[in-house]
Point group: C2
Chain length 448, copies 2
């Protein structure tokens, strides 16, 4: 954006806000970061149990730009594939990518603290905690905060304002009233609750720590991601209402009956299940899309504020971090901030909508399909072909998780691949001849 | 809802709010109506030129319930069909329905005043003007207003609150923060501007007053609806941005060049065109959907607050009035207000979304298709068949405009009809044999 030492505000000091502040600081901007809550490095944040997340290549690239990639990698547990648990406790393993490719389980809190500490090394970054954004004057480009610690109103003017204040963004709420601002929020009928598999007495993990565990049961699903302390954070995805749902399960006995019938091998490693179920909050799952992401060159939405997505592709944080790396890459290409803001929104908003679609689709895949033999065969065929002709076929999961292909392109490529595989799966006795040259030839012809 | 003399609030004293207040008053409720603006019967409302609207059967039914149908009818000009103006000034006429079926042009302001005056006859209706809704406490069911006349805050508690405060509803804005509230707002790339065809010196209309005039030009469209004073309100629908758009036309010369080239016969009757073009505001076109419409039994959204739609089916007001008549009909069927609110939202939200879809579709029909010979032939065939077998085929336009079929059912029926007509239009030389028994027989077989 040409001139340095411009004064910019980042509203929201979560993962995306903290990373964006570092990248802007590196480019020479004076960055004020405002956060509604206290400093999470000093105060115990009240809310749900601290969740862990799956970090992957898109996120890692942005962390590299910020200069913290190695530090963060040391806090990660690699997960090389999915391990599916069936009702009888039988396990099926599906690798995520090629040898060595992995996604990384990391604590949200730990990652956020590391980013904040790194931001503190820059003289041109200042953090303001306990500042609730109450209004945004788009004429003057003024932010109005209420400082909840000192009980006073704070008004500040900025050259540019970045809204990284999450799925229920106050900054976005102001943009909603501007003309031609398209917006949607859509809830799944399912919600989630976090539970725990504690470590063994010796601090080791009770189940294989190097994979993401899934108990797919159609309308219900349990997943588990490893933590460094030997525990797993377990997440139950469950209907909010209905015959078997968060609304219907009301007693510890009902919890145990449901889990024993549905996830018996998980119950064995969850000694505090019944208590955790009632101690921990139930949360909803929302998809937010908007377009444009900017208001003139005054405001830009990034991260969940621009594209809250459901968690089933493990891409929420990665998409948000990629927002920052793409902006960082574009910064030097445009002298005129208005052009930069418009080009960035036009480039990035379709990608935000595409990863939202992909995440919704992956919910179906995770809860229904990963337990399905025909689906697993389909994935095996794809993998085989991809190994033979790596330049002709990168599986959709790999495009999303391991590549830097635009999400919107990955979505379109995935659609083409799905049509080809739909035809392949119709071939009689495909389960016997799936890896034969004739099948590989047929796929090759379809791709060209 | 069983108990009478409950205290209810209606937020927004526009068309839907004023009608709903009357219907609630008739059922015995104590109704407080709050309006942000001054009383439009006393003050000149600042804003765009007062628009006229097309009232049709759904709206008339609700006005009948309110006891004002005859009074309103006297303020209407019936429009029996569409009159299309081509570039050479040639006219094509297409009746809306069967003989005598019409939609009615009426002034928004006049209709609103009549409803307010009628509401004043009820002891149990009170109006509060200059009351801006600032907040809604969903715990206590309290409304927080700022009285802009007396510069004071007003807080009131109600048994039930109805949000009839339009497309940019403050009530809905509060519901947006409740869990599981699905919402979208989507702008067309086209906006609109109102213009005028003044009356002749003797007060008569300059063009045929008993039809809705359309100048369909693909990306551009002009329409005109008659007023009682001999004028027509003309509306230009036009791209907001682009080569030929509201953004590109900046001088009176450009206005006249564009209109002379595009709407030459309209220019002849629009002596103040160039001045009006710059005096009158440019407005945007938004579609709003949400689901549910209620929060428990505390709040219900109705009218544009629940379903703002684009104006191309002439159903915005009619859909809002139907919201009121459906609620009125359901009121006595449910003793428990929670059940009533949930059933009403579940019934009505899909209809709000359906009329939004229909209105978006009709934009394409109005600006592109009504000037198309194949489309006009299709309509003639449908009409012919419908006359022969009225119980087998009611044209979609008639279902929407003249029937009380649910919008969602009309949308589904219309889709079936479209598929049948797509096949009929493929028949060779259909333009020569369109009214032959063999064609009618073929449609008959398709419908059964």
């Amino acid at each position: 954006m040409g001139e340095r030492n411009k004064k910019v505000a980042v509203v929201g000091a979560g993962l995306v806000g903290s990373l964006h502040a570092i990248l802007l600081a590196k480019k020479g901007y004076d960055v004020d970061v405002f956060e509604r809550r206290p400093d999470l490095r000093k105060a115990k944040i009240i809310g749900g149990r601290s969740i862990n997340l799956a970090l992957s290549n898109r996120g890692l690239k942005a962390l590299r730009y910020a200069g913290v990639e190695e530090q963060i990698q040391a806090m990660c547990i690699p997960m090389y594939g999915r391990k599916m648990h069936d009702l009888q406790g039988n396990l099926t393993y599906q690798p995520y990518g090629k040898d060595g490719e992995a996604i990384f389980s990391i604590s949200r809190g730990g990652l956020n603290q590391t980013l904040m500490n790194h931001a503190d090394h820059f003289d041109n970054v200042r953090y303001f905690f306990n500042h609730r954004c109450d209004d945004l004057d788009l004429e003057k480009n003024e932010l109005h905060f209420f400082d909840t610690e000192n009980n006073q109103t704070v008004v500040e003017q900025y050259d540019h304002i970045f809204g990284t204040d999450g799925a229920f963004s106050a900054v976005r709420n102001r943009l909603m009233k501007t003309p031609m601002f398209n917006y949607s929020q859509e809830y799944l009928s399912h919600g989630y609750k976090e539970l725990i598999i504690p470590p063994n007495a010796d601090g080791s993990h009770r189940i294989d720590k190097n994979c993401l565990h899934i108990w797919p049961r159609g309308e219900f699903m349990l997943i588990a991601l490893p933590n460094l302390d030997g525990s797993f954070t377990v997440t139950l995805f469950f209907p909010m209402e209905g015959e078997t749902s968060f609304a219907s399960i009301q007693t510890e006995e009902q919890v145990m009956d449901f889990f024993n019938a549905t996830f018996p091998d998980a119950v064995e490693v969850m000694p505090t299940l019944a208590k955790d179920y009632f101690d921990n909050p139930t949360a909803t799952l929302v998809t937010v899309r908007c377009n444009p992401w900017n208001f003139e060159d005054k405001v830009m939405l990034m991260g969940d504020a621009a594209h809250a997505i459901v968690p089933f592709y493990g891409q929420g944080m990665n998409a948000g971090f990629e927002d920052c790396s793409v902006f960082y890459e574009m910064l030097d290409n445009y002298q005129d901030p208005m052009t930069l803001f418009e080009k960035y929104s036009a480039l990035r908003a379709p990608d935000g909508s595409a990863i939202a679609d992909l995440a919704l689709y992956n919910y179906i895949e995770m809860r229904d399909l990963v337990g399905d033999e025909s689906f697993l065969l389909r994935k095996k065929i794809e993998r085989k072909f991809s190994e033979l002709y790596p330049d002709k076929w990168l599986p959709l999961y790999s495009q999303v998780t391991f590549s830097h292909t635009r999400y919107s392109e990955a979505l379109a490529n995935g659609e083409k691949q799905r049509k080809i595989m739909d035809e392949i799966m119709q071939i009689p006795a495909i389960e016997d001849i799936w890896d034969s040259p004739v099948i590989m030839e047929k796929i090759l012809n379809s791709t060209t």
